[in-house]
């Protein structure tokens, strides 16, 4: 804690954002890291709590007070080292994490919390600028080989951890480029793809192999992988989108959000990025169904594509509209501090212009004579609690309303692992939720030597959770391999003994 009274001296500062009209004119990022002075001050706001709730709030268990302290002492390099000790990719989480750490920050009880995420991003970016982040090749090789299926955040984190333990890692990716959701799901304006590429390249320099365009389960079977590798980690996400099966779903202009976003990302990354032709949202009235992060990404993307009007529907009633950092006594009793508060959240995409409607249920899509989407009919939902305490959902009679639209994006979540590919082989045991069954203790699936981590195991979740799972799974795989080593050694000893005897 560089300054004992820092939290009383400095106000919270967030990274500078470009103004809306400026930033919607391009598809790149629009925030910039904290200046060095601001970084020091923001670090100094941390109180170095005896019980750092932030650290508990963070799925990675980041030692936030430690690197805040070092940042406050202008020791950014060591701060970054402390950050990297628990988080493989702060350049990602520093941008796209909803920051449950900040929701749990003790200062947040009665002040704006410490801007942990901004500090994280600033440290990471400064690290790259200064060349502090360099590939770390292991000193020795264990001789073990591990296959990782999926190159999203879980897969990448596991790959880096395992590689650093000296194991040889091969990452299989079904798409043409590595990165998973980081590359295809998250729009550039939140995370520019060269940052993902930079990280992949670092990992390659650390001697991790990437095999893109290989769909495990189709191009190579799980059994084959098991034969070729000492361990297999499944980190292939929960990409099976939840669909909205109502009348008119097959209308031209009704799209799954992930497809819309992936297409948009591909376009941004491709050479024809400058062209505005053929963009799905240009000049259209767009409805985004689903009020989550994916929905938000759709809004920002549609805005940048030049949509005429954007409306977002959410089936749940509007949560409390609180200040950005509600104090402890303002928080809803269902989610008291230090829990993630249930509240109305305004994303940067919302800031860029969109109408938000709550407690609305989609009834049917309407089409024009060409089968193109022309409108969405909705009705209101009333939510009440019955005498047993059960939540009751009831459509409100006579509340139907027609919303003219030409593009509707379905962003109502995911329902487990993609069912083609290796799931279709039928060897893996799945949970009711469609995810691969594996424990939180050792991440082992029902198949010996096959592990699962990230969304494929826990279901759709945050990038930070994916990294956390990747790390934990790597640790479990390492012990598994160490055990194997002991066993091999034992066998070797006994055979030697036998030969001698």
């Amino acid at each position: 804690m560089g300054e004992v009274r820092g939290f009383l001296t400095y106000q919270r500062a967030d990274p500078q954002k470009q103004p809306v009209n400026e930033r919607i004119g391009h598809s790149g990022e629009f925030i910039s890291r904290l200046s060095d002075d601001k970084l020091r001050e923001q670090g100094a706001r941390c109180m170095d709590c005896g019980v750092p709730f932030c650290s508990r709030g963070c799925p990675l268990g980041n030692n936030i007070p430690d690197w805040n302290h070092l940042a406050s002492e202008k020791n950014e390099r060591l701060a970054l080292e402390a950050l990297l000790a628990t988080n493989n990719f702060p350049e990602f989480t520093g941008r796209i994490c909803p920051a449950p750490c900040e929701a749990a920050c003790v200062l947040g009880i009665n002040e704006d919390p410490v801007s942990i995420e901004a500090i994280e991003m600033s440290l990471a970016d400064k690290g790259f600028e200064m060349g502090w982040i360099q590939p770390q090749k292991p000193q020795i090789r264990s001789g073990f080989r591990v296959a990782i299926v999926g190159s999203g955040p879980a897969g990448l984190a596991a790959a880096q951890q395992l590689n650093r333990q000296g194991h040889s890692v091969v990452v299989f990716e079904k798409s043409e480029r590595a990165g998973g959701l980081l590359t295809f799901g998250i729009p550039d304006f939140k995370l520019e793809k060269d940052k993902v590429a930079r990280r992949i390249s670092l990992l390659e320099q650390e001697e991790i192999s990437f095999r893109c365009g290989v769909n495990v389960g189709q191009d190579i079977s799980l059994n084959e992988l098991r034969q070729q590798f000492d361990a297999v980690l499944l980190a292939c996400g929960a990409e099976k989108a939840r669909d909205l099966n109502i009348a008119g779903r097959d209308a031209n202009g009704v799209m799954l959000a992930m497809k819309f976003l992936a297409d948009a990302n591909r376009r941004v990354s491709s050479a024809t990025a400058g062209s505005t032709e053929n963009l799905p949202a240009t000049g259209k009235d767009v409805i985004v169904i689903g009020g989550g992060d994916t929905g938000s990404d759709c809004i920002g993307t549609a805005r940048r594509q030049g949509a005429r009007k954007i409306v977002q529907f959410e089936i749940m009633p509007q949560p409390a509209n609180l200040s950005r950092f509600p104090r402890r006594d303002q928080r809803p009793s269902s989610t008291p501090w230090p829990h993630w508060p249930l509240m109305l959240r305004t994303s940067s995409s919302h800031e860029e212009g969109c109408e938000r409607v709550f407690a609305l249920e989609s009834v049917r899509f309407e089409t024009d004579k060409d089968g193109r989407l022309s409108a969405l009919v909705t009705r209101e939902i009333s939510v009440s609690t019955d005498e047993l305490g059960q939540t009751q959902w009831k459509p409100v009679a006579g509340s139907e309303k027609t919303w003219p639209c030409q593009l509707a994006l379905i962003a109502i979540g995911f329902s487990g692992a993609q069912s083609d590919g290796l799931i279709s082989e039928g060897m893996l045991k799945l949970t009711e939720r469609g995810t691969v069954q594996a424990t939180e203790v050792n991440f082992l699936t029902n198949i010996e030597g096959v592990f699962a981590a990230g969304d494929v195991r826990r279901g759709q979740s945050l990038v930070v959770w994916a990294i956390a799972e990747g790390r934990k799974a790597a640790k479990s795989i390492d012990s598994y391999l160490q055990g194997k080593k002991q066993l091999t050694k034992l066998c070797a000893d006994s055979t030697q003994g036998a030969a001698r005897g």
Partner: protein, 1536 residues
Amino acid sequence: MRNNSFNKMLLDDPRIEQRDACGVGFIAHLKGNRSFQVVCDGLQMLRRMDHRGGRCADGLTSDGAGIVVQIPHELMKKSASRQGRSLPAAGEYALSMHFLPTDKKEREFWQNQLQQCAREYGLEVLFLRDVPCDASVLGQAAKLTQPHIQQAVYVRHNSNQNRHNFDWNLFAMRKNLENLARERYGVKQRDFYIASLSRENICYKALTSSDTLSAFYTDLQNPLFISAYAMVHLRFSTNTLPSWPLAQPFRVLCHNGEINTLRGNINAMHARSFLFKNDKLQQEIDRLGPICTPAMSDSAMLDNAVEFLLHSGRPLTQVMSMVIPEPWEKHSEMSQELKDYFEYQSYLMEPWDGPALIAFCGGQQIGAILDRNGLRPARYWITTDGHVIMASEAGVVERSAEQIIEKGRLSAGRFFLVDMAEGRVVPDDEIKSRLAAGKPYGDWLKSERVIADDLFNAESLDETDDTQEYTSASSSMPKLLRAFGYTQECLRLLLAPMANEGKEPDGSMGTDTPLAVLSTKNQLLYNYFKQLFAQVTNPPIDAMREELVTSLSTHLGGEQNILSEGVEHCSVVRLNQPILRNSQLRRLFGSEIKQLSVVRLSTTFDIQIENLRQAIDKLCKNAVECVQAGKNLLVLSDKDVSNSRAAIPALLATSAVHHALIRAGERTRCSLVVESGEPREVHHFALLIGYGAAAVNPYLALDVIATRDKNYSFKADLSAKKLEENYCKAICSGLLKIMSKMGISTLHSYRGSQIFEALGLGSELIDNYFTWTPSRIGGIGLAELESDMRTRHTSAFESLERATSTLPEHAGQYHWRAGGERHLHSPEMISALQNATRINSFEEFKKFCAVLDEDNAAHLHLRSLLGFSPQRPPVELSRVEPAQSIVRRFATGAMSFGSLSKEAHETIAVAMNRIGARSNSGEGGEDPQRSLPDSNGDSRRSAIRQVASARFGVTSSYLVHADELQIKMAQGAKPGEGGQLPGHKVDANIAKVRHSSVGITLISPPPHHDIYSIEDLAQLIFDLRNANRSARISVKLVSESGIGTIAAGVAKAKADVILISGHEGGTGASPLTSIKHAGLPWELGLAETHRTLVENNLRERVILQTDGQLRTPRDLAIATLLGAEEWGIATGALITLGCVMMRKCHLNTCPVGIATQDPELRKKFAGTPEALINYVFMLAEGLREIMAQLGYKTVDDMVGQAQNLQKKEVSNERLAKIDLDFLLKQPDGHFSVAARGKSTQIREIESGIDMTTLLPALHDALSTGRRVSLSLPISNLDRSVGTLVSSEISKHHSTKQIPDELLKVTFRGIAGQSFMAFAVAGISALLEGEANDYLCKGLSGAKVSVRPPRQSLLVAERSVICGNTALYGATSGELYARGRAGERFAVRNSGAQAVVEGVGDHGCEYMTGGSVVVLGAIGRNFAAGMSGGIAYVYDPQEINRNRINTELVQIDSTLSQSEEKFLHDQLRKHAELTDSSVAHRLLENWHAEKHHFLAVCPPAYRAMLNRHTEINEQTESSFRQPILPKGSETHRGLHG
């Protein structure tokens, strides 16, 4: 010679749990004239110190009373002739007094043995005499254990023996008989005991009360019983069952106090007995057996040592000065010859350190000596008829004023000696210079002894060399750090602050991690040991402010035969402190010092080939062989740790070698130096030294500091050398702190004293390597230690190769960290508790409980290993007593206003008052406004008010407006330590309630300066009883080994409530070392206390309360079953008010407004009484559910029913090794079991002067509206006079203006202790005579003057007028004392004005306000820790100036005009009230004399005074007017 059975005997030595304190005294005729009167006076002395002794539950059996007198030759002659024998001349025969078994056969056996043994030693038993006893005066407990008491007369069989041989043979024979008795009855035997065996004197002692000793021993009533002296002792022990042999006096001495370093002294005495050499007596010496008789009390063992040394031919005074040396190292006024003498003696023997008044007699000498700190009172009179009277109190023998020609007192480290052959009192300086001149000590030292500092400075240390070493070390450093278990946290949180700032870092809010044995993290061996500390029976000391008595010096080299006295003892290397830098160790190795014969023994072993046990065995064997081969410095080194060689834990290696050497009889021939990468925290060094190391070189800690690595927060702008120096300094002051916690002043005594309790170590490990260390619950052994050690080694030397970071792990021992050590206060737990209590949901509360209680949850505490096993059918919940009645049993912990914000403090009080429970003011006074109810009916008053060592705001009014008064003896987070509230935290509000000044730093002393011993506590309890007749008196103790016996003592001292606090308790600020490593869990303390009290039939007298991280109903149920009827919650309460365990209380930055005084932060406080009330009720409801399940309808029924508990089945092997029988075993003993307390203490206040005389007079004055004057006699039996009547004024008339001198009383005589304690305005007392200790303690406005009687022959200014610790914690009022005062005059005075004519050591210590004028000599260390107030010291000879401790104060020799006026006024009043000749003289020559005054004042206080001068002048003009017209007194006289 000293065979195995001898060692076994020592091994079986039970832990010493005997602690005593007492009244001590003697009377002697200067010329040695014998009379019966002397014996009678001795007995009177005993009677008049009755309040200093202890009584058993039966009310009659005392802890022991005794008298030593010269052999009554005439009486014995008569007795001999009755048996038809003729007695040789006096001095030609010896008389023994022995206690025999009552069994007839056994008695016959011993009578035969006496004869037989006597013959072996050339003696003959002339005849035996059954001592006439009247058993009817004994109490029940004494009767049950009464021995057969007999005397025997011995004569020389062989008349060739000279007297010296005769004495030696008597001694040797007695030791031999004692050995026989141990062989027959076991080590702990008390069946056969020889109370005295001497040619000169005899000891009569018994478990009778002080007034029935002579009724029991009818000899003492016989006028033929004449003696020139009588030495008496009245015992107040905390030991459990009464014991006849342990009554005092012993053979040479009797003792008031406690020997803190006993274990070390015994070990050393035992070890050095192997070196005893005497050409003629070798065979007998070898037969002596243990010098210190096993299983006796500390005083008895000291007596043994002294007695033995006397037989070496040294004079009595020399022996006493060896065992209780005066602190000499830092003495500015001591001659070099005397310093040489003491230094020389220090190489023969370590001090027996602890509070002590020792009276001794031998030959023609009788005398007394006081410990180095002057912690016990001792007063003497010399009378016109040639008698000398010395005792713990003045006035214990009736003498009229004109019979007394000298009055004095003993001061620290000084002798008082009557030489009856010379017929005079020999002054201390004469004794000492005679001793110093006895041998050419200075020359011997010069020729032989090497001072290490000279050695180190001789060639300047090669700094570059050091740097090279660091660079070469750097590549292996990450590995070494891991191998020795370093963590990032220990580097950043502990080492960095020590290296950067030179002091140990502080922390807040206690510790909440599991005990080492319960932890799942790899623990170092050090963490299994807890530091012990002083409470009640002895005081901790303040090493910071009373530095002059401390010493960290140590020496290297072997000891020699103590029976000789020659130059050979000087063959040592003296170190100023025990921490060796790397270069210093090299220097010791490198140079050819003839005094040292060094060998380096590796403590590492090949992990592929050997195991730990083999490695230790080898090391020990090696060590013994090396010493036998003549090596005298063993360096235990793990420097060669490597990939293949792992290090034995340094503590294990050290202690194992230490004990192996003791067993081999080689220990004192050599010194141990530890060169290890492992030690780094203060606690580690304390343990290494406590288990035998003379010096430690922590090379890795020093190396890592020298890297100045920013990663670990080392300050790169300081040089490596500076950082290292800082670090060593921090370690040294930390060591001093740990020592002083136990009341130990010198490292020399601390070395090997083993003042630790082990927790979680198995008995085999303890017995083999940490012999005699208490370890009550068993636990792990060598195998587990080895496995942990190997894990660390592997992680360092194998896994590190594959690790992603070279940094050591974080650990999370102090601050919670994800993946780190488990904490009770996890984010989940805190948020669950806050949520449940905010919304008052029992469902949510159960979720919170589940976080902590579930079977599969972490084993955080010992109680986590306990499960319920109901012994009765369950009852219906509805039949269990309601929560409303249960909640009354709750108290909140003592948290002061000052540590807590006003808002937090008052919210707690409101909550507790609403439900009829009790909140605790903590240490720091309380705003009187809070006693008035709020408009909504709420009360913000704290029901419990604390009396702590600083006595902040402890006024008569504060005391009387409480329901319970709690004496804080210790605090869980830092037992044995004081505290400090820095000036910047003392704002107007705090200053007001603490009766101090804004911005002036407030220091809490480590001890209560009126409690250095158990009888002192009894006196304070008595004071408080008088100060508040209706309050319960509670004593707060912290759990540690032996707390049961302490609690028994506290019960005998008549407390109503005993609070057993766990070690984990929260705190505002405490050194991290203390938070983690001092004190023990409450489970152990509570179970031990409950059991001990039941076994001694004392349980019914007191209520037991416990606290220490109690969080859930399950915790409460376990506490109740283990014996507590009430519970305290503190941190838990704070959490419900919003505390999030920032652990930043010491920084004043609490972000939730709880532990801060910052007005901005206080606004953030959001706690409500409701949340706390919800918590207490949910705890009670939860407890009811458990009660129903266990079948108890009321809490009362459940108290102490430990049979409902059992240890849970655990699969973890380590946990399985823990043995909880200590917690669960039932009390045994022959007394009926009263399981729970009702507080039935006898209050003893009804018959006092206050009740019988002063109170009626007060009522009279108030009802008639007239002043009352009284004249009364007083004696030392009248204690706390003026306190009760003052409480009456404070209670009922606090709103009225009480006129000055409403009650004006003249007392004639010797006042008992605590005269005018807490006396208030309106009372005016004149004492014509003399006062004892604690005069005007807590003075709250009264005006008191003390002067010698008019007929006195004494020169008043040279005589003592009052005892120690006068004006302690006084807040207002005046004291004029014509004469000299004792030690610590006006300690912690914060507002009283005083004039006195001389003071002892440590005058005005910790003073924060008021004024003191001293018209005579001051003692040393005047004004230490004085942060406020002003003292004027008359210093015409310019001697006093050098005795002032100027650390905080400034000395001005010119006084301002207003000061001059003030001083003049004070002198005038002094002259008027006491007729002081000094004052008269000064006033007459005022213009010349005023220049001889020094003004002693802290600069900050002076600045504040200057600022407020104007304001003061204004308030003075509006000074209250008396409501009664002058001259309306009525006069009532008693006895004229």
